[in-house]
Amino acid sequence: MSNMVEIRWHGRGGQGAKTASLLLADAAFNTGKYVQGFPEYGPERMGAPITAFNRISDTRCLLHCNIYEPDYVVVVDPTLLTAVDVTSGLKRNGAILINSSKSPEELRHLLAGYEGAVYTIDAGKISEEELGKNFPNTPMLGAVVKVSGIIPEDRFITDMEQSMHHKFANKTSVIEGNMNALRRSMQEVKGL
């Protein structure tokens, strides 16, 4: 299973890191992949640090355990950088993607000496401008697809548009904002 990509999400309860991991699983599934998307369940308090996981592969994933040596780490809440060892086990040839208005260089000193690639995306800003609220999920999803390259970008955009038209059939006003947020996040990732 050398083609398996493992992603670990760090967020806070209520921010939607779990939902983002499930959306990514959906998106990868739509391109024909085998997927796993699952959170680590514990005391589900709003604001408590939570972890969610994705495995994406060309064959069925046999592993049923958490991810300790991820290829990618996604940090939905930048305040976790000083609270959780987010780069624990992160592969040197992998990458970390952080929701922040800062540049990768400004945040690297918080990453416990991690020497691999660092990317940032201002998901909060994009979300506020495109959706009118701070829902970092959608921009983070777009950015992780961009950074990881696990899904062809055009295919991803088409699939997301279709699934949103399906999901928000009675609420088409939110589709445009979400699609804009996705497209912008893929363009505005810093560190590429």
Binding site: Q36, Y41, L62, H64, N66
Partner: protein, 393 residues
């Protein structure tokens, strides 16, 4: 035509129940099984199924309602976890003793105390002596397939025993994974309609559950035990018919790279997948290792297990629960028992693992294989009752 989907284990079970078009579902919510009746009650509300959904006030009542419905000739099912199953305890024996073919989706979770919502097998393993057939599932696909097959086994006229289909709480119940679903009509055709030979209703109504005096109780107990013995053949027949339909061939257990193996892990539910992954890694290093994944735990396939393990040098039996016998877990006791009649038998040790949701890592299973390797190298069995993944041991 198979339908390519991605569903959590709980969704998969709810879809299976939907496709069976149950007559009755009675359930009380409990983490992590709550989603099963939650999704199912949506199907009921949407009119997708014709099922009578009974929103009871406890699991004791859920099982009572299922038993009554089944005794009246209905196809009845429920879902639960942990203390929910514990609260059903009295009724589990009533279901098997009354020979009603109730089916249950058990989303395995640790029993209190201390209170814990995460996965281990203390709930189902505690119920292993209750006269229920138990089938375990590695992933969402198996949970779905097993649930569909369960009614055919339970309702077979020679069996008439309740069946619980187990899967690991959160680990598979809440993980989205790929799955191949059957078409609705294929499931409907496979499960057919439940037509009991006798029931509370109909032309020749019978009584269910009257006092059984010493003149009769023993015969009924014997018949229940006999049905459990007979169920193995029916289970294999149903598995075969399902394989013909889907191409997914299941046995009483799965042998993974066991043919030329010298050491093997015996394990059930989700950890079997991780064990196969570790087995592959060790095979790549030239180690002769295998995995025996138990699927049917009740009835216990003693002769088949004996044969499958006979050529091995060392075996580790994994238990995700402890029965507090002070000598090892429940799966270990049965597997070691199976090997007693062998002329040359493998060295067998037991590992208690993963209690209360402790994550079962690749390293943990490597540790187990290396313990077996050491036994083979030194010829020394060492401690039999062991633990892996627990601090301070």
């Amino acid at each position: 035509m198979a339908i390519r989907e991605r569903l959590s284990g709980n969704e998969a079970v709810a879809v299976a129940f939907k496709q069976m078009d149950l007559d009755v579902m009675a359930a009380y919510p409990i983490t992590p099984s709550t989603e099963v009746p939650q999704y199912f009650s949506q199907f009921v509300a949407d009119g997708v199924v014709q099922t009578e959904f009974v929103a009871v006030e406890s699991e004791h009542s859920a099982m009572s309602a299922c038993i009554s419905a089944a005794a009246a000739g209905a196809r009845a099912a429920t879902a639960t976890s942990a203390c929910g199953l514990a609260l059903m305890w009295e009724l589990l024996y009533v279901a098997s003793g009354s020979r009603v073919p109730v089916t249950l989706a058990l989303i395995n979770r640790a029993l209190s105390a201390p209170i814990n919502i995460n996965n281990d097998h203390s709930d189902s393993m505690g119920a292993r002596d209750s006269g229920w057939i138990q089938i375990y599932s590695e992933n969402n696909q198996e949970a779905y397939d097993n649930q569909i097959m369960s009614v055919r086994i339970a309702e077979h006229k020679d069996i008439m025993l309740p069946v619980m289909v187990c899967q690991d709480g959160f680990i598979t119940s809440h993980a989205i994974e790929n799955i191949e679903l059957l078409e609705d009509d294929a499931v409907a055709k496979f499960v057919g309609t439940y037509t009991p030979q006798s029931s509370l209703l109909g032309g020749k109504p019978i009584s269910v559950g009257p006092l059984d005096t010493p003149q009769f109780y023993f015969e009924h107990a014997y018949q229940r035990a006999h049905a459990m013995i007979e169920s193995k053949k029916v289970i294999l027949d149903v598995f075969k018919e399902f394989a013909d339909l889907t191409g997914r061939a299941y046995g009483l257990f799965e042998e993974y790279k066991m043919e030329d193996a010298e050491c093997a892990i015996v394990v059930l539910n989700s950890t079997a997948g991780t064990a196969k992954y570790v087995c592959d890694e060790l095979r790549a290093q030239g180690k002769k290792v295998g995995v025996l994944k138990l699927r049917v735990f009740r009835p216990f396939p003693i002769d088949e297990i004996k044969k499958a393990l006979s050529h091995l040098k060392a075996v580790a039996v994994m238990d995700k629960s402890d029965c507090f016998s002070a000598v090892g877990g429940p799966v270990f006791a049965d597997v070691r028992n199976a090997c007693y009649d062998l002329e040359t038998r493998p060295q067998i040790i037991n590992f208690i693992y993963g209690l209360g949701g402790r994550d079962v890592r690749v390293e943990d299973l490597k540790h187990v294989y290396s313990a077996l390797d050491e036994i083979v190298r030194t010829g020394h069995l060492g401690k039999i009752y062991r633990h892996v993944g627990v601090r301070g041991v």
